[in-house]
Amino acid sequence: MLEIKDLCVDYGGIHALSGISMTVPDGKIVTMVGSNGAGKSTTLRTISGLVKAKSGSVKADGRELLGLPINKVLEAGIAQVPEGRRVFSNLTVLENLRSGAYLRRDKDGIEEDIRWIYSLFPILKERYWQPAGTLSGGEQQMLAVGRGLMSRPRVLMLDEPSLGLAPLVVQGIFSIIKEINKRGVTILLIEQNANMALKIADYAYVLETGRISIEGPGAALLDDDRVKEAYLGKYRG
């Protein structure tokens, strides 16, 4: 279980997060929606240790993560698929997957996970030798998700996996996120595409300029008038 309490983050005096609290229970899909600049990426980056928090706490099963080096957070079972995919364009598809397992030593387990990821995303198997930079946007997102899984995380945090992708591709990725979750991986999903995210989420938070304004079960937020007006307008139909 991931527990975030009163998390505050500043960028040179500018508040990016002003005390947010959220809980990500084991085995669930939790989503955080919010518009540009709300502080969604900052939340994930702080959990991963890329950004220093000003105050607050982030605990994984009771163990404080804030202040740990990035690789220790990963070792604690928390992996991130960063915004904008960020695959290593100069590495092959297979090497990108292996880079996700950089800290692991269990060769057999790594091969097993590669086979699992190939079964989730057969296109990656077909293209395993190709430099990742030559993949399409959707394929790169699949690779980024696969790479994130290669550390065998307990919690997978995804930062806007639908960014810049066609609706059909987004649907494919979301159904695979559900499948990953069924395999026991806890999901923390960040999205601007609130409609899709709320539909698959067990629980959801709405972030507005560094504060959580609304929270509740995904289905309840889909029906919430404030959410409808602010985030679902253009997706309704």
């Binding site: 890329l50 990963l74 991130q80 960020r86 100069n90 880079s99 790479r147």
Partner: protein, 294 residues
């Protein structure tokens, strides 16, 4: 036949000089590839290896001295990064560049102080300094060893980078620091390894290079360093094959010019080549247009 007899010795020595430049150029290109930094201190690390060789071989057997020079040079490269560049990882690139220039002068002045600014006689290494005759041309054995050793080391390096886990880490870090961190790659270790490899190759190059010259002084790293840098830019900075090809091209052209009696122009030629390549193809022969890192 006459033609070959006339030019063969120059080509031979050009290939050898090219090998020496290549061993230095790889250090420039690898550090640039990973940090986007031109390590101005690299030529001075090369020179320091030569000086250490002189001092150490005076107090111990040659084999021990060579081994220790290799180790100490690797440590020097490692320390330069840790002390002068690592604290500036997130600073503007210009600051790191200025720090590199500072380190370059620091090494030069330390050596000037230790040697009293004098040129030190380089060690006579038996066997590799012996004269051999090949196809009618007589030369030191080191002339033949240098290109062969260079090729072996380059092949080993390419294998390391393309086929091993740490090599994959290096390629990942060279593309994206932050995502590498998210994968658990310890980027500072990877950067250290890069400096250590570059310095090791420079130390090998240094021992081979100075065997062909009589002495080493505190400025002896400047010219070969600069030539190797031009080779790296010519080949496409960041590319290892590029640096090697560039180094051989420059080494061979230089010695051929000397053979034509144009010794005075051989250095000018190298820098003219730099201007031409920067105008015609700024990314060099094998360079790619790498996006600015975020």
């Amino acid at each position: 036949m006459n033609f070959i007899a006339r030019w063969f010795p120059y080509i031979l020595s050009g290939v050898s000089v090219g090998g020496q430049y290549a061993l230095i150029a790889i250090g420039y290109t690898m550090v640039y590839g990973i940090l986007r930094l031109i390590n101005f201190a690299h030529g001075d690390i090369f020179m320091a290896a030569g000086i250490m060789m002189i001092y150490l071989s005076a107090v111990m057997p040659l084999g021990g001295a060579v081994l220790l020079v290799l180790l100490l040079t690797m440590f020097l490269g490692f320390s330069v990064d840790r002390i002068a560049y690592k604290p500036l990882r997130s600073a503007p690139r210009m600051s790191v560049m200025i720090s590199a220039i500072g380190v370059s002068y620091l090494i030069q002045n330390t050596v000037a102080y230790l040697t009293g600014g004098l040129t030190k006689q380089f060690v006579e290494i038996p066997w590799i300094s012996d004269t051999v005759t090949i196809l009618g041309a007589s030369t030191k054995r080191v002339t033949l060893i240098t290109p062969a050793l260079t090729i072996v080391l380059v092949v080993a390096l390419v294998f390391l980078i393309n086929r091993t886990k740490v090599g994959m880490g290096m390629r990942a870090v060279s593309r994206d620091f932050e995502t590498s961190l998210l994968m658990g790659i310890r980027i500072n270790s990877v950067i250290s390894i890069t400096f250590i490899i570059g310095s090791f190759l420079a130390a090998v190059g240094s021992i081979l290079y100075f065997t062909n010259y009589t002495g080493v002084t505190y400025t002896s790293g400047a010219m070969p360093g600069l030539k190797a840098f031009v080779a790296a830019v010519f080949g496409g900075i960041g590319s290892i094959p590029g640096a090697v090809v560039g180094a051989f091209v420059i080494g061979i052209c230089e010695t051929l010019l000397k053979g034509m009696g144009l010794t005075a122009f051989s250095d000018a030629f190298t820098f003219a080549l730099l201007v031409v390549i920067l105008v015609l193809k700024p990314t060099g022969l094998f360079g790619e247009n790498i996006k600015e890192k975020v």
